[in-house]
Symmetry: D2
Subunit: 311 residues, 4 copies
Amino acid sequence: MTVRPFSQPLEGIIPPLATPLLDRDTLDVPGLERLVERAINGGVAGLFVLGTTGEGPHLSYRLRRELITHACRFARQRVPVLVGVTDTSVVELLGVSRHAAEVGAQGLVLAPPYYLFVGQPEFQEYLSRVVPELPLPVFLYNFPALTKVVYEMDTVKRMLDQPNVAGMKDSSGNMTYFHRLVAAAKPRPDWTLVIGPEELLEDAIFAGGHGGVNGGANLFPELYVALHRAAKAGDHARVRLLKSVVMDVSENIYHVGRHESSIIKGIKCGLRCLGVCDDFMTEPFNRFREPERTRVAQLVERIQDRLKTVL
Amino acid sequence: MTVRPFSQPLEGIIPPLATPLLDRDTLDVPGLERLVERAINGGVAGLFVLGTTGEGPHLSYRLRRELITHACRFARQRVPVLVGVTDTSVVELLGVSRHAAEVGAQGLVLAPPYYLFVGQPEFQEYLSRVVPELPLPVFLYNFPALTKVVYEMDTVKRMLDQPNVAGMKDSSGNMTYFHRLVAAAKPRPDWTLVIGPEELLEDAIFAGGHGGVNGGANLFPELYVALHRAAKAGDHARVRLLKSVVMDVSENIYHVGRHESSIIKGIKCGLRCLGVCDDFMTEPFNRFREPERTRVAQLVERIQDRLKTVL
Amino acid sequence: MTVRPFSQPLEGIIPPLATPLLDRDTLDVPGLERLVERAINGGVAGLFVLGTTGEGPHLSYRLRRELITHACRFARQRVPVLVGVTDTSVVELLGVSRHAAEVGAQGLVLAPPYYLFVGQPEFQEYLSRVVPELPLPVFLYNFPALTKVVYEMDTVKRMLDQPNVAGMKDSSGNMTYFHRLVAAAKPRPDWTLVIGPEELLEDAIFAGGHGGVNGGANLFPELYVALHRAAKAGDHARVRLLKSVVMDVSENIYHVGRHESSIIKGIKCGLRCLGVCDDFMTEPFNRFREPERTRVAQLVERIQDRLKTVL
Amino acid sequence: MTVRPFSQPLEGIIPPLATPLLDRDTLDVPGLERLVERAINGGVAGLFVLGTTGEGPHLSYRLRRELITHACRFARQRVPVLVGVTDTSVVELLGVSRHAAEVGAQGLVLAPPYYLFVGQPEFQEYLSRVVPELPLPVFLYNFPALTKVVYEMDTVKRMLDQPNVAGMKDSSGNMTYFHRLVAAAKPRPDWTLVIGPEELLEDAIFAGGHGGVNGGANLFPELYVALHRAAKAGDHARVRLLKSVVMDVSENIYHVGRHESSIIKGIKCGLRCLGVCDDFMTEPFNRFREPERTRVAQLVERIQDRLKTVL
């Protein structure tokens, strides 16, 4: 399939889309369409499917392919669709990647294989073998808390020579790493450098990064888009105002549950409260029960009220 | 397929079989047959395929199914075949499990889903939903260093009530955990309690455990079988003698490479030195190069010499 | 002061004595005397003061010196007194060590300095400079969970050449480490190899170790002494019987509180229940409150009842 | 001693002073005077002695007191002197604190006691008992990588009510934590919020923080002072220029050695290259040897050249 190339670096907000589900292996297709529309109408620069927020590794391969197909169809090339293809199995990884290329996705997002520990030289060998086989531009995905393996700076520097590597999504939460990344990537001004944790969005922009892959942009895309713009413009007063709402989302909606999964549960529950899609979650997680749902609904409403005054 | 039930608890050595490969997605079928024969002739009590040593999570699902089929065929019900089905995706997990049941495997081995962090109550819910759907007896697999999630004692105790849970393989390396496990499992004398790290095999037997799932038993099944028997018999002098050879394997063959993968690389390389199968490894790993291979060959020969005097 | 040399290796139980306190900086001297008598009457092989259980790093240096003096006086050379001297400051470490030598202690226990991370080559240099300055035999103390630095096997092997290093106390909880230690220490048959976690006492003896530095021996010295003897004798039936009581202490008395400090709190509270000494704890900890105290009292009584039947 | 109160919040750079030493227990007094003058002439807002960079926990208590006395004497109240008093022993902590108050220090810096794990409720109790006993304003010091205990947000919020708590130094390296801290500290506009890692200095200022406690300010105080000012002024172009020099220091001078100690070794070695003081380090560390020293000298010279063009 022929797709329009996207301008590089990609600047702005690229929400890691939640995956609307009806049950364990059934995609909520209309829900996905509403979610895609909401994001694009909110001004996002791209869509990232099958990431952590999208429960990617927890879905069947069949459903992953179906999701990619529909997401590309709904996006209609208004913004590029990036696909999380991280896998412990390189054969499955390549299969999903080829499918993504065939149905019109525009980039792949690749974290280290996440079961066994891989030494950095082994990981470099892995990348030098696998990356050239990938049929689309590749965004490296650094998330050592989940994958146990970090993209060390030396590894990043080697990737500068790979023409089909297009940048990095850093979810380490380590701003020192991000500063080092910006410095290291100087020779590739086309590289897209985006940050995962939304609490660090403006830090990343001030540091020379291009945007954020922020889970909260599923719920309130305009908020993150506005914060990105304010930071780009160096408008510190507006950054502080918008940031206080971002922290409200983060400190409240993401802390309704007791476990670390409360972030993705909170996002999916919030989407239901907003009427976007169902909040079903596949194993190993479970959607919030009624008391948590009520609490999320209240919080979502409060944030919406605040957004009326700040946007 | 009708299979002979295995006696419970399962006592002895259950090698976590390496997966002989010709390339990334091609099984070395004759190599697998030789490996299975070597183990059964060595006196093992069962076979465990698609574990960590078997590069399970790194193989395609197609190859995983093919491997299960052949392993069951080669085992000819002389010993039970246990299949590692741990997966981040429950749909894939169930598919592999059903295949295993259809082709004559006799047990499933289940570690926690290993991408996102799962809180213990969430994990308990996961188990209570998934375990009853599994078509074969289930061995819990505790390996928190790789999965980030531990089977806490409270979770183990809840599993005592699940009739199709048949025991646990503990690879935590934490003998205090194993002692607690033995105490907790008292109400289920049919439970099989086996230990992963071969350096702890006799400790586990002395503690009341039933055996080991030890990688080195791919190479020298008789050694581990003999150590198991000596420990069962309380023959401390013989335990000390055999243990010194086990430590020789562990301190030397497993330390040829620099990375944590040197254990599974050393085993696979040793199998090649012994003429059992090729040493090809799929991504993210790579077989040893010539200097390491020469070193492993020397070590394997030395261990074989020592075995002549102690067995 | 002239002290009788102790036979090496030191075989048996060496309780890490709790430090009886009346307040933040006042030693409960009669309580200490009762504690020492209880341990020696219980058949211990030595006394270890100012360890983790003894709140060593939390006491003033003045009180540490006072405690060493009294402990040596009360021990009356019936068993050797070993003194924990681990310190972030080498000047203070040497001061306490000299005091210990002057008042008749017979050994020093040395863990890595525990504030900044120290690389292993740096740690080896540290040991090679500091150990020769120490005026008494030194027992290395491996407790990486608290010190962040491990005595790697290579470092242990270098210490074999230091004549005044007398062995190691391993509190890593890692039995594989202990097996490697036993193998590495072969050239020094005089080295004492003892284990910290009481849940691993018989494992350590079976592995070729000499004893345990077990917190529970403050409360019930006879129990641990009996378990040590049974393991030495290879009497597995008796080991299993006594071990079940050790696990009862460990699973219950050490789990009354919610935090990791519940072990040392439980021991100190149990000593009060037994009438040995007050349960005051210095900062950063606090003794148990009434509900926990009542629970500990019940548990101590139950264990005492069980001991009547097994000892 | 009467000291001039300092304005709160304290804005600017507060270097964590290295401790110039002639040997293990001898202060390099003239070196300290030069170091203090260099910092004050460079425009710093305060001095922090006995921190991590100052090898605080590795010094004898006698030397710590001597250092505090001299530092206050040399500072002559031109800027406040803050003293690291973190200790595993509360009695020693109080002794050093009282000495600091007597000789004219103006603040104390308090991290959690760093040997045993302390649960957060236990830590809160500790703080509520110890902080009111401290004779000077207290800056909380968050450095969980070294102390194992974090100042959780709930604990920070409780400290807002303690009148003699004056702020926090955050060395967690976690900017999300810092953003949460700024939000939580809103009710105390007098609180000083400063960041440890110099790579995050401008992020902290943009986030609403007041300054940095940056090790590199021992070497080049003007650089960090200038970066602080540029960030305060929202001058992004100048921030980027100065930041590139800060990253040069961080990526190069701090990476001459192999171990984590290379930061404090690099700083101390750099001070010698600059003629400020000797580079002797007390145990467990050791100064750089000749090849590393030559390398540091080159790097220091290069940075000095760059500073001529940017300052």
